[in-house]
Amino acid sequence: MTVLVDLLRRLGALCRKELLAILKDPANRVILIVPVIVQSLLFGYAATYDLTDVPYAVLDQSRGGASTGLLARLDGTGVFRRVANLHAQPQIAAVIDAREALLVLQFGADFERRLALGEAAPLQVILDGRNSTTAGQAAAHVGAIVADYNAALAGHARPPLIVEARAWYNPNLETRWNILPGLIAALSMLQTLMLSALSVAREREQGTFDQLLVTPLTPLEIMVGKAIPPILIGLVQSSLILLVALYWFGIPMAGSVLTLYAGLLMFTVASVGIGLSISALSATMQQAMLYTFVLMMPLMLLSGLATPVRNMPDALQVATLANPLRHAIDLVQRVYLEGAALSALWHDLLPLAITAAITLPLAAWLFRHRLA
């Protein structure tokens, strides 16, 4: 019993010292709280693949009722915005080059006549492909409007086939709905990893780590004492982003808060484990920072946050299984959007637990056995 109390007292003292070291500088306090909130707001608004405004130009060489009817449908969507009426072919290049229009619709001189004859009348759609995603979406949108128009031409009161699409988990298919839950994991990882990576490196650089090693604390206890403060900070940061997602953007949460935090705790422990291993490996703070950064970039990019994992080549998809951030993002999205229960999340929790089980003891071992 006394052994346990003693252990807790020692750990408590070390945690307290670590928290003080991090939080005593007012600039540090600001940098741990404010950017997370600002970023979740900014990225929440910026991270969207949803097309809301398509500026377009028209080159109408037919000048008939048919093209006007089609254009009226386009303008009626509220998404397409006509910025110019062109008169000659060379003007197309000008408006697209200058990024004034995302697409140009060109009606040939015989458009009206062909339609009247019951033939297929070509409508040229010229798209700015500098962003292939945006171009593809705009093209699909035009295609759908033309299909409606064709159905109306054929005299159907309604199209012969109605496609009734409904989306699960995200009824309006807003990108924000899956970016923000992803940010709950990604943004907090950025700083927890850096904090834990610096904690041992700073002491090494300042020479205080040797003092810590000669105290009655065992390396395992040092590891635990060093791990707890960044874990706490990471969870606080995740909570801040969660609040922004829930109350600022009003994204409804389908799952339970308890499940979410259980998953986040597992993830934060794993990333702190990685951070401490880096920290134990590096001799100076600068090295620790640079190593963290070199690791952080691929982890972020291959996590499925910005681009879907399923679009990656197969070999890389397998490699992402070793990425704790990928599992964390998947986990948070499942709990948040789909309301998954803990029992349905084992394939995300297990890799996180394995990462933690490898990196944390490794860090403790490296404290004493670092290769000079």
Binding site: A27, S132, R166
Partner: protein
Amino acid sequence: MSAAGFARRLASLVRKETRQLLRDRANLMIGIGLPIVLILIFGYGLSLDVRNAPVVVVLDDTSPTAHDVLAGLALSPYLSPQVVPTLREARRRMADREVDALVHVPADFSRRLAAGEAQVQVLLQGADASRATIVRGYVAGALGQWARRQADRAGAADGASGTVEVVERIWFNAANTSTWYLVPGLIVLIMTLVGAFLTALVMAREWERGTLEALFVTPVRPTEILLAKIVPYFVVGLIGLTLCLVAARVLFDVPLHGSLLVLLLASMLYLLVALGIGLVISSVTRNQFLASQVALIASFLPALMLSGFLFDLRNVPFLVRAVGAVLPATYFMELIKSLFLTGNHWPLIARNCAILAGYAVVLLGLARAVTRKRLD
């Protein structure tokens, strides 16, 4: 006399900085190793294009017409449809995220199609909204075309009405792949990384360790200290740029329609801007941890998220666009994509280069102003 002294002092400072840079492998990892990794990830790994999206089809109607819907979906190069016997099985696959969409053909499909009022239900895996939106477009397009062919076959006799046929042409991206716009954008990221992140640490480290005070008692001037910090990192940045350019042309066949010279000059200009940002952060914070965090938050993440690299700024609210418009990375991003994919569009080149030059002057001037030979 003073010019000779300046050159001599600068040369020895540059030598010192270069040695410091080369001595630490971690620096070279960021400056050269990371660009290579990023090029490979962006070029081969990341893609925003949807191809062969798995779709499950449930046919409650056993007629040949309903079965033909499957063939209609299979015609699309973007979808790979697959029939499953029960709706329950299909829903399980959706829940496990094995497939992107579920197409449900109801039992009375062919009967109602004959009456001209058929319905097909499409369920989308919305957990990835952008992908779901694209898949919805492809599914709806494939079904629409199928229906039209069906109608043509049925009613070829009764006076055909004309149809509008969309002919698509995609400019500047003939291959229609996201690699073409991701790889040029990567140059911006790497320049930002080398410029802002690496240099943010160098001045802060000297302040933290007190070695800057040691430099102050020597005859060197603050301008010389700053210049000496800029030169080695400028060279590292140019190596990163060269790697990117070679990779873009050789590995990924991204066309370079604009002039290589303009591209190089503009990149150097942006590199100066990034170095300026790094030095200002470094001199203001005077603390390595803070400097690294600020560099990350103020330069790198916005360059990734707000510059138009991944997300098209046309779709975002005004306020966010305004934040993007303050970032130098946005102008460089616009310029470099235009140089690669469009060609020399001189008004754009002149405007964006002028803006970048302005930023470079202001930021480097600011760094010079903050670095004084003074102890607090």
